[in-house]
Symmetry: C2
Subunit: 185 residues, 2 copies
Amino acid sequence: MKTLLDHPDVKAFVLHWGEMGTQWGVNRSVSQIHALLYLSDRPLPADEITEALGLARSNVSTALKELQGYAIVRRVHVEGDRRDHFVAETDLWEMLLRIAAERKRREIDPTIALLGELAERLRHDETAPALVRERIGRMHEFISTLGGWYEQVRCLPKPTLVALMKLGGKVARFVSPLKGKSKER
Amino acid sequence: MKTLLDHPDVKAFVLHWGEMGTQWGVNRSVSQIHALLYLSDRPLPADEITEALGLARSNVSTALKELQGYAIVRRVHVEGDRRDHFVAETDLWEMLLRIAAERKRREIDPTIALLGELAERLRHDETAPALVRERIGRMHEFISTLGGWYEQVRCLPKPTLVALMKLGGKVARFVSPLKGKSKER
DNA sequence: CGGTTGTTTCGGTAAACACCGAACGCTTTG
DNA sequence: CAAAGCGTTCGGTGTTTACCGAAACAACCG
């Protein structure tokens, strides 16, 4: 059957996206399927994905579940078709924020929790080397701050985000007029 | 020999950091070594790392090279010792920026380049579905913008970064007074 | 210049992971 | 209430990746 992937550039995109995924700890099938759905002009049933990418049906199923876990793909119903169909989020900001949210939830938050425990325990532990106590404490504080920042930024309306991004380094002018002008660090 | 890792909390930190790494596509040895160096109060020679973590000497060697590739670990000389010693960057902002810089260089920049090519070619390709052309174009623009933003932010002096981070969502007030107040999206 | 100490390279092995396909269960349909 | 369609689960398999240990290489010292 004819699919999007017949086009060489589409294929290049999907393959690259797949490799990209692997480098960030996402498995190839998952990211390939995401790429395919992102380019599709209509919801696709699992079968078609299977055929287009040459993957096993079961693999596609679990990959789709994973993508839904990130909330960047969702199930939709199509008139007169019993099968589930899937569409990808096409707003790229939304996509990025959701991926970030989920990775934070899965990996960062537990890390913060652990660091919190360790830092707390070390605070009263006289036997531990001073530098260890300080550095684990700093790490905890640092990651917590980043996490807090993300939670705030994530709640800004999208147009604001776009505007901030376009501002780039110039935002610095607002925080401390003198510092905002440097181009070097 | 007695090492930092005798302390259970230090061990917990190192192990967790190692697992963390694997989830982000960094191999376990590399991130464990990084964690160990981060907590160490003095430069460590490869031997000590080998012994402390129970890794093969060769593995430690390649991992150290990798860490130096990220510029978050550097070689130092210690008086009266022929061996190379290694220390980790302890400024966490610096660490984060360097990791980001390197990953951008390795993964994002090539992606932008590829997307640029594809987008350019598709612009003149009448046979390609309209949505594909648009979406690959959008993706290219989006990632390029993010990349540009990073390059600017990266050059801000560190205190400014800290200040901006502390501001959190409040930065939004400067870009468009009405939008900055929302807590929901 | 040997011998010593330290580092890197490389081929093989073991562990992790992705992926497949068969079997199972649920839902719809004739 | 069979039978077919669809989705998921699960055990096994192949591929990738990390890791080890031996050998090669380089620097230094007597």
